[in-house]
Symmetry: C2
Subunit: 232 residues, 2 copies
């Protein structure tokens, strides 16, 4: 008897959201192939977090691919000439300086190439339109447009059953995401969300990402496992 | 008086088609930013050709970015375990083994990131649906779907005038392409089309790409400047 189990590619940043997505994909029964990128991000400590999360989360494989998008510049996350904002107002109608041009398009394109090569038909991404409504490539219409593209762009799309782009967090609040992950056994102490962590991985507690994360644990009524660095 | 001239990103492989596209973009008045990829292709000599073509073609800049898609395997162009076919029948309804999973999706995504960073709104690609009808990502519907995606995925698409994906060769025969390029002064002796060239850049004369190219010069009634290696 052949026990066919489907494969999925899971984009894994090492942060809270994608760790939850990995757990959701595993919980649905997929063999999960985690994919992370070294793209010149300032917060490269997240790649070590991604390794820990992939292993703890039961991924079948974890690949880290180099991507030169940081060399193009244009974002506070990859360009030393642009400061990461601290304690900024959350302005959901405005695209933040931490926006990386076309990042999720590039990430999903690479995930699509991996999925087609590996024989996976599902691609999971931790895009979230609630906390990151300022990023155009975190919206549901972006996800739908990419799925449409994927099925025109590939052999699998044209000759096979096609690809699905899965964004299970897209409408969830940070607290909902944390509650979902806790139920699925995610160890959030392994994850790094900070945009500007110290070299030993301690969170700044001041950037947008740290504040969203802390607020999420607070609202979810879950103890925050994040280790913050001492305030100067 | 400010003389505003638009910028365009031009995907440049070093082959005949993209050299023609660069000339078309320049002829339309764009400042052209050429983009090539080192993706583990067997025919890496084409990157040297891309340098020559970009310079001779008047590009404002030429960038070569590393892309790890070859590491994923799955194509005769990047995987030494798969032979490049010789003297195969052209079967236009079949996707060839030289298909690289999601290649044009990845290339256009990177071009989109570069365009947004550089302030270019037009992206030129040498996709052609006539000679390469077997590749799903060379069809007009793929180009349209990517343009739609680009304008949902980016700051420029949401807040600005948006991007155009230009595929001026999409419906042209190889002879038409060559005639267009000759009129625009393209020096095709600088280009390399062969999938399997020798280390000194001599064309095999046997792969699909060599045969399409030779047939194109023949039908265009233009002397073929390609240097072929001696037959064993």
């Amino acid at each position: 008897m052949v026990d066919k189990v489907d494969k999925a590619v899971v984009l894994l940043s090492g942060g809270l959201d994608s760790a939850t997505v990995l757990a959701i994909a595993r919980n649905e029964g997929y063999w999960t192939y985690a994919l992370s990128f070294d793209y010149g991000q300032r917060h490269r400590i997240e790649l070590e977090a991604a390794r820990r999360v992939a292993h703890a989360g039961g991924a079948a494989e974890h690949r880290i691919l180099d991507l030169p998008i940081g060399k193009l510049g244009g974002s506070a996350l990859t360009d030393d000439a642009i400061d990461v904002p601290k304690n900024s107002e959350f302005e959901h109608a405005v695209i933040p300086v931490t926006y990386v041009p076309a990042r999720n398009t590039v990430f999903l394109s690479m995930a699509l190439a991996m999925a087609e090569t590996y024989g996976a038909r599902d691609i999971f991404i931790g895009a979230n339109a609630v906390d990151y409504s300022g990023y155009p490539d975190c919206r549901p219409e972006f996800i739908s447009a990419f799925e449409n593209l994927a099925n025109l762009a590939t052999r699998e799309g044209v000759e096979g059953e096609g690809f699905r782009i899965r964004a299970p967090l897209i409408d969830m609040s940070k607290a909902d995401i944390i509650n979902t992950g806790v139920k699925l056994g995610v160890d959030y102490s392994l994850t790094v969300s900070c945009y500007n962590p110290s070299t030993d991985g301690l969170a700044c507690g001041e950037c947008d990402s740290c504040r969203l994360r802390a607020d999420g644990f607070n609202r979810a009524d879950v103890a925050d496992p994040t280790v913050y660095r001492p305030v100067r």
